[in-house]
């Protein structure tokens, strides 16, 4: 049958293809379901209204819920997050969009000194049930201020929750769980994942915060990965399966507070670990996870924990230079082989 021929098979007789949803649409569905369920929820950010946001995550919500609950703002990130903190202190559930994570510096004080601390410093009299959605990560020539991985900026801040999905199904469930959360959530959306497609359950569901997922079972080595590093780690694992190395992949999903139990259980079983995160190495998530695994699994480890992360540089505009700096599938595969070879 050529493309020009008419397919006369009745629609109901065709085999149903699994319905695949993009990461972006999964997030959009979550926001829609949240807005429908929680009257106290509202969306706020730059051009999130009629325009639907820079990446289209809030598309059509302005038309459905109106300008009062899908609220465009001036370029005032501190005021956007300040508004979220104040509104959440009196029981609203704001969800902000900060167009690029690189702009979080503009509202860092509101996140770190207010959102993360009002519950603690005022002795539990307030909560800040807000969500800050933001696009992060590089790999597409965005340059120094449109490409950064910012989890390290917030890793040292007690009180904040950092959520980082790697696939459309989790993106939807984790966003709904974040909206339900009474703790403030920084919700990281890796730009390279926006177009990822997968089957996503219909309707309202939540994926628990603070729980990692074993994305692939294996017996020889555990890779603990976040966001875009997860599909890369899964691909590296397939590659190494051929070489006879069985890799388990743990998708962290929540970066703070992270699920140490799942990580340590996995490493206790495989006795080797590699941690993979896109951000610069020094003082990053990889350092924390590596230290924790060494401290708690030292006697069981057959090799030192391997680390895959970005080089310790800003991110350049040139795509070849950027590729030089950011970790990829081959870096993960190399780290796995090196760790296997270093085993005692």
């Amino acid at each position: 049958m050529t493309d020009t021929q008419i397919d006369s098979t009745p629609a109901e007789a065709k085999p149903k293809k699994p319905r695949k949803t993009s990461f972006t649409k999964a997030l959009n569905d979550a926001l829609d379901l949240g807005m429908d369920r929680f009257p106290e929820m509202f969306l706020i950010g730059e051009d999130i209204g009629e325009m639907g946001g820079d990446f289209g995550v809030t598309r059509k919500l302005w038309a459905k819920y109106g300008a009062e609950r899908v609220r465009d703002t001036p370029l005032s990130e501190a005021a956007i997050i300040g508004t979220c903190v104040g509104a959440s202190m009196v029981g609203m559930r704001p969800v902000a969009e900060i167009m690029f994570a690189d702009f979080l510096g503009e509202c860092y004080d509101q996140i770190v000194n207010n959102a993360a601390k009002v519950h603690y410093m005022f002795d539990g009299q307030f909560t800040a049930p807000l969500v800050i959605r933001t696009s992060c990560g590089g790999g597409f020539g965005g340059g120094p201020h449109h490409s950064q991985s910012v989890e390290g900026w917030f890793l040292n801040v007690p009180g904040i929750v950092i959520v980082a999905p790697s696939n459309p199904e989790d993106a939807k469930g984790l966003l709904l769980a974040s909206i339900e959360s009474d703790d403030p959530v920084l919700f990281l959306e890796h730009k390279a994942l926006y177009r990822a497609r997968a089957e996503v359950p219909e309707g309202y569901y939540t994926t628990p915060l603070g729980k990692a997922a074993v994305a692939r079972a294996g017996t020889d080595l555990t890779v603990v990965a976040t966001m875009r590093m997860v599909p890369m780690a899964l691909a590296a694992a397939e590659e190494l399966e051929v070489e006879g190395i069985s890799v388990e992949v743990v998708d962290l999903r929540t970066i703070r507070p992270y699920d140490a139990e799942t990580i340590l259980d996995s490493v206790s079983k495989t006795r080797r670990a590699v941690v993979a995160n896109e951000a610069p190495r020094i003082g990053g998530l990889g350092a924390e996870l590596s230290a924790r695994i060494h401290e708690e699994c030292f006697s069981e480890l057959l090799a030192p924990v391997g680390r895959v992360d970005g080089l310790d540089t800003p991110i350049p505009f040139s795509v070849p230079l950027e590729h030089e700096i950011l970790p990829d599938q081959s870096d993960i595969a190399t780290a796995i082989r090196t760790t296997m070879e270093a085993s005692r």
Partner: protein, 334 residues
């Protein structure tokens, strides 16, 4: 009394006596605290509201428990008055400053983070100006819910240097939010004179471009300040959007290195334009006996002595508080 009377600065004698009492509560509180601080009994740092009693009493007496205010570093007095007026437990502000378990935040907040939302106190923030944008959210929530809450940010002149000041006024203006900007211009940001730190020594000039009512008042004149606050609050509560009011006042406290301001300036504000002496003159002019006024002062000083004793006798917070309330949904285990 009609709104015109309230806003025109007419005041019944009883009301003026109440405000005089409030001003003495603030002064006694701060002087008592200063003495304890010098003796090493109060941890942390100390910023007092001495000299700003009229501004503070005017604000405290006009804000309801269902309103919301974000106090600044020198607002112990407002915090205590709100606590005392709405719940009768002003001593819990003193206890918070002593970091005791009986404080409004169980000693976890201290001078710069005392809050009690049940009296409308949403807490100071040690990062000056930070709550200038937080207040927007409280105001927006009130507006979305159709509540008549006034969301008030009380902030000093120095704070105006922060970008948040301008982000806030702009957003309040475009969204017509019920925000009351109460700018306490006490002349100095730490040691920098207001005219050196800003393009205008009159902060009201910097606010006018945003297009909502902006007024200035002698913050040491209790009658004028009270009327100005009443007018601002009525404007906001009637659904007319934000309002900016600058109080011209002066703080007694120098800096940690001591007094740094010209002698004539110090004399003017502490002697010729002291808010309590000014009120005292008004009251005696209205025929109130000096004895009655002296009794008000001594009663407030006695009350503060009790509060200090309460604070000192109160236990430290339970050590379990150290790791409590980091998250709502998780316990912190170290």
């Amino acid at each position: 009394m009609t709104d015109i009377d309230r806003h025109g600065g007419l005041m019944e004698l009883d009301q003026l006596l109440d405000l005089y009492r409030d001003m003495w509560l603030i002064r006694a509180f701060e002087q008592g605290l200063e003495t304890e601080f010098e003796q090493g009994n109060v941890p942390g740092m100390l910023h007092t509201g001495l000299g700003q009693e009229a501004t503070q009493a005017a604000l405290a007496s006009n804000l309801e428990a269902t309103d919301c205010f974000f106090p600044d570093h020198r607002c112990h007095g407002i915090n205590a008055l709100a606590q005392q007026r709405h719940k009768g437990d002003g001593e819990r502000i003193m206890a918070e400053l002593f970091a005791k378990s009986t404080g409004v935040c169980s000693g976890k907040g201290g001078s710069l983070h005392s809050a009690d939302p049940s009296v409308g106190n949403f807490g100071d923030n040690a990062v000056e100006g930070s709550y200038l944008v937080t207040v927007l959210g409280v105001a927006l929530a009130a507006k979305m819910r159709g509540e008549s809450t006034v969301a008030c940010a009380i902030f000093g002149d120095g704070t105006v240097g922060r970008g948040e000041f301008h982000e806030s006024l702009n957003m309040a203006a475009i969204w017509d939010l019920p925000v009351f900007y109460a700018c306490v211009n006490n002349g100095y940001a730490i040691a920098t004179p207001v005219g050196e730190g800003h393009a205008s020594a009159d902060i009201v000039d910097l606010a006018r471009g945003y297009g909502f009512p902006c007024e200035q008042v002698d913050g040491n004149d209790i009658v004028a300040s009270h009327a100005a606050v009443a007018k601002a609050i009525d404007h906001i509560r009637d659904g007319n959007g934000p309002y900016f009011l600058e109080f011209k006042t002066w703080r007694w406290q120098g800096i940690f290195a001591g007094e740094f301001r010209p002698e004539a300036e110090v004399k003017y504000w502490r002697e010729d334009h002291d808010p309590i002496l000014m009120t005292n003159d008004m009251l005696t002019g209205m025929g109130v006996a000096e004895d009655q006024l002296a009794t008000i002062e001594s009663e407030q000083r006695a009350l503060i002595t009790e509060w200090i004793a309460f604070a000192k006798e109160s236990p430290d917070p339970d050590l379990a508080k150290a790791t409590a309330d980091v998250y709502v949904q998780w316990e912190v285990k170290n």
